[in-house]
């Protein structure tokens, strides 16, 4: 525990030091960011120790607030999330050093450093807190510090809107969590997590807890249809922050959901089915919307929704396995879902950092303004490619491993229960994978291949070592997991033991059986790499001593090819967006070419979010109409105000003395069961 606290202390110190006025820029940046990176590096150690089977560090101190207790514990589940958290945050902070330096002339970086440190600490506390007050405090602090980071460029209308949306969604979700934990606490007789785990009394209020937790944590995680802050906030935030948000912050939702589910000694089967349905919806719709985007950060944000869908799908199968007493399915589903959480955190932050690198170099986030970046920024290109392959779930990278476990879970469940419906998980995952591949060939192709479309893209260059090191680090981790999945499996089986309904011995057996299969995957991945290597070598050998001529990519024999003739993001994805136009309902602005000597034509399409841009405005309009009616009650005349006093007085008198009060008692107090409050 001391290492963990030391790490947090270093990070806190970095944040506090950033507030000192009048420190030279370079010094401030080096000291604050250095401390934060060091803190992350220190913090990773206990997480790895726990995952490797070491003793569980814990801390228990009194805290002088009502029902509060400073109670921290790093159990395997916490350790998994902490590992991801410190890796991603450390990388993002390092990446941020050169990234933010370009803003230094126009605005102060003090708030960024301060809130980054608070964000890192609050997430770490969220993952380790064992007391409701501490957990909720850390949870809300995380939301607030994220908000302050999102509004970094608050002079832009878009950023303000995104920040507002994020803040209100997050807070509303937190209010649901209040009820979740208070219900848990009421049943368990304590607000400590340790009393909640394994508690049979919880099942009595299982349904409201589960549903409210789905909403409360689902908002943060980005379940469809309550995802709609996500695709606004991720692009609005500065890129290192987006990497942390997508890599870790939305995972807090997953962590919370898993933690709450893990308290229950038995799970109703419908929970798993609901999770599977949510996972399917988010997975498919997320990737469909991603396909239609032009802004690469927005596109990555929709992909986060998709991957959250995959994670929840895995968790759903796992929970179903638990409630059907099928340890194989439970193991595969839970391990797949949680592992995918780790994997997605790694490759998505890698992709965001890559995107940030491109934005830093070109100053634009429009895919259609890039092109040919492979030649200018080869390292970024390589890292981006690694991330793209991983997110599509293709071996030899880590995305494949976790998706493979989920595939298996679906398959085994379907076969063992001879219920065809559950096998449908396989085509769902396949569909998601295919669409993701379509999307990332689009992104990678248009960004890196072909010719530069704008002046900015022509002059793009790498952002320096501090940007590349974190990206290469994350990429190497993606490779490591993809190539040696067997090494990580024991750790995953340890993570699953935190579920109250899991019997450790049984699961260990299942995990051992799976290890063999994963070893195959490892070999397969190595094989793929070997084949690629051999092919490259062969090409090299064939080309030895032969002249190689370079010509325009996709020149296609035009006399005067211009970069504008290349495939754009829209044209590449047109087929797939057309296929899904019933759900996407893209808005197309087109000026057709009509006459023989045509005037300038144009084509533009964008796909507004179904919830945010279509449903919410309608709701708001209705609300506004109602509000105008109500607001007329406060219309400025004091006589009316006094009339309210008179009427209210008469109402109360009539109420009391002529029996209306019974009705009110029925509504609010009939079920007032006085229970002894927790000490």
């Amino acid at each position: 525990m001391s290492l963990f606290l030391l790490g947090l202390g270093l990070i806190a110190l970095g944040g506090i030091l950033s507030l000192i006025p009048r420190v030279p820029r370079v010094l401030a940046s080096a000291v604050c960011n250095g401390l934060m990176i060091l803190g992350c590096a220190v913090g990773v150690v206990p997480a790895i120790q726990v995952l490797a089977g070491g003793p569980l560090p814990s801390l228990n101190m009194p805290w002088s607030v009502p029902a509060g207790q400073i109670e921290l514990l790093i159990d395997p589940l916490s350790a998994l999330f902490l590992l991801l958290h410190f890796i991603v945050c450390g990388s993002a902070v390092m990446f941020g050093i050169p990234y933010f330096s370009s803003y230094e002339k126009t605005q102060s970086l003090k708030p960024v450093r301060f809130f980054t440190s608070i964000l890192i600490i609050s997430i770490a506390l969220t993952f380790t807190a064992q007391n409701t007050i501490l957990f909720l405090g850390a949870w809300e602090l995380m939301a607030l510090s994220t908000f302050f980071l999102v509004i970094f460029e608050d002079r832009q209308e878009r950023v303000r809107k995104a920040g507002f949306l994020y803040l209100i969604m997050s807070h509303t979700g937190t209010l649901c969590l209040f009820v979740v934990f208070l219900l848990l606490g009421r049943q368990a007789g304590s607000l400590g997590f340790s009393q909640m785990a394994h508690n049979k009394d919880l099942l009595a209020v299982g349904t409201p807890i589960f549903l409210l937790a789905l909403v409360g944590f689902g908002v943060k995680a980005g379940f469809m249809p309550i995802h709609f802050w996500l695709q606004e906030a991720h692009p609005a935030a500065p890129t290192p922050v987006s990497a942390i948000m997508s890599g870790v912050v939305i995972k807090c939702g997953i962590y919370g959901l898993v933690r709450v589910i893990s308290f229950f000694p038995t799970l109703p089967a419908w929970w798993g089915i609901v999770l599977i349905m949510i996972g399917t919806t988010s997975g498919i719709l997320g990737v469909v919307w991603a396909l239609a985007q032009h802004d690469f950060k927005r596109l990555l944000a929709y992909h986060s929704i998709e991957n959250i869908g995959i994670i929840v799908l895995g968790l759903g199968f796992g929970c179903l396995g638990l409630s059907l007493n099928n340890p194989v399915v439970a193991m595969l589903g839970l391990a797949g879902g949680l592992w995918h959480t780790l994997n997605h955190g790694l490759f998505k932050s890698l992709l965001f950092l890559g995107a940030g690198s491109i934005y830093h170099a070109t100053g634009s986030r429009e895919i259609d303004q890039m092109g040919g970046l492979w030649k200018k920024m080869p390292w970024t290109g390589f890292c981006f490619l690694v991330g793209s392959v991983a997110i599509c779930g293709i071996p030899p990278l880590n995305g494949f491993v976790s998706e493979w476990l989920i595939y298996n879970a679906s398959f085994v469940l379907g076969i063992h229960n001879s219920n065809f419906c559950f096998v449908l998980g396989v085509p769902v995952l396949a569909l998601i994978g295919v669409l993701a591949a379509a999307c990332f060939t689009k992104v990678f192709g248009v960004l890196f291949l072909g010719n530069a479309r704008t002046e900015a893209a022509v002059e793009a260059q790498e952002g320096g070592a501090l940007m590349l090191i974190p990206m290469l680090f994350l990429a190497s981790l993606c490779f490591a997991i993809g190539l040696f999945p067997g090494v990580f499996l024991p750790a995953m089986s340890r993570v699953i033991t935190v579920f109250s309904s899991v019997e450790a011995g049984e699961f260990h057996q299942v995990a051992m059986n799976q290890a063999g299969m994963l070893a195959w995957i490892g070999w397969l991945s190595v094989g793929i790499l070997a084949v690629i290597g051999v092919l490259a070598l062969v090409r090299r050998l064939f080309l030895v001593g032969k002249p190689v001529s370079a010509s325009a990519t996709w020149g296609c024999g035009y006399a005067l090819p211009s970069p504008r003739m290349q495939y754009t993001a829209s044209s590449y994805a047109q087929f797939s967006t057309l296929m899904f136009r019933a759900v996407l309902r893209p808005l197309v602005h087109m000026k057709r070419i009509t006459s023989l000597f045509p005037a300038a034509g144009s084509f533009e399409s964008h796909s507004p979010d179904a919830v945010l841009d279509r449903f919410i405005p309608r709701l708001a309009a209705i609300l506004r109409r109602v509000l105008y009616r109500v607001r007329d009650f406060q219309h400025g005349r004091v006589q009316f105000y006094l009339a309210y006093v008179l009427l209210f007085l008469i109402l109360l008198l009539v109420w009391e003395f002529h029996g209306v009060s019974l009705l009110w008692k029925k509504i609010f107090l009939l079920d007032a069961v006085t229970k002894v409050p927790p000490p």
Binding site: G636, R637, V638, F640, L642, L646, F657
Partner: protein, 214 residues
């Protein structure tokens, strides 16, 4: 003595109805002054068996304040504002009378649920008090001149005092003095504000005072 008490209480109610149903402001002020004097006499008859110096002082104080001082202030205010009539009531005088009658009924209905302590004379004190309070509020609510509203406020206070007279023995003198003082200060400050309003807005119509709203 019982009859005198009843008579005075009926006088109070009639004064209320008179204010609700008529528009010359001067007459209304006189009616309220009369009401104040009736109230001032009430303690002497309500607690006829134990007339003390305390009661006499209270009686004189009430008559002086409610029967002369406050009406005098109001008269001065309408002279300054050159105002004679209530011209812009929110509801008509007939409707106001009907509502007033309704409120008297409501006062009796509520008072019926409130038991009177054994040995209390004049069983209509409670309904009259409640009705006067509500009718005073009705005047404030329905009248357009802020002077009429001040008048309504005094009626409201009168209603409260009607009730307070039952208790006059149980309440210590200190509090009574404080209460009377507060009312005087309240009306005095109201008068000052009215004067300011008259100067600032050039009128004392309550309708002008509706700029602050949603």
């Amino acid at each position: 003595m019982e009859h005198v008490t009843q008579l005075l209480l009926i006088l109070v109610i009639l004064a209320n109805l008179f204010v609700l149903g008529s528009h010359p402001l001067g007459a209304c002020i006189r009616a309220v002054a009369l009401q104040g004097i009736a109230l001032g006499l009430l303690p002497l008859f309500l607690h006829a068996e134990e007339r003390s110096v305390h009661l006499v002082f209270l009686s004189i104080g009430m008559i002086g304040l409610k029967g002369f001082l406050l009406p005098g202030l109001l008269f001065r205010a309408i002279r300054d504002a050159a105002l004679r009539k209530e011209q812009e009531p929110l509801i008509g005088f007939n409707t106001a009378l009907v509502l007033g009658a309704g409120l008297i009924g409501l006062g009796f209905a509520i008072a019926a649920k409130l038991p009177l302590p054994p040995g209390t004379a004049a069983s209509i004190v409670v309904p009259v008090a409640l009705a006067t309070v509500m009718m005073g509020l009705l005047v404030i609510v329905t009248r357009g001149k802020i002077l009429s509203q001040a008048l309504g406020y005094i009626m409201l206070e009168n209603g409260i005092f009607t009730f307070g007279l039952i208790l006059v023995k149980g309440l210590p003198g200190l509090i009574e003095t404080g209460v009377l003082l507060d009312i005087f200060a309240g009306v005095f400050i109201m008068g000052t504000v009215i004067e300011h309003i008259n100067r600032e807005f050039g009128s004392i119509s309550a309708y002008k005072l509706s700029n602050l709203k949603e």
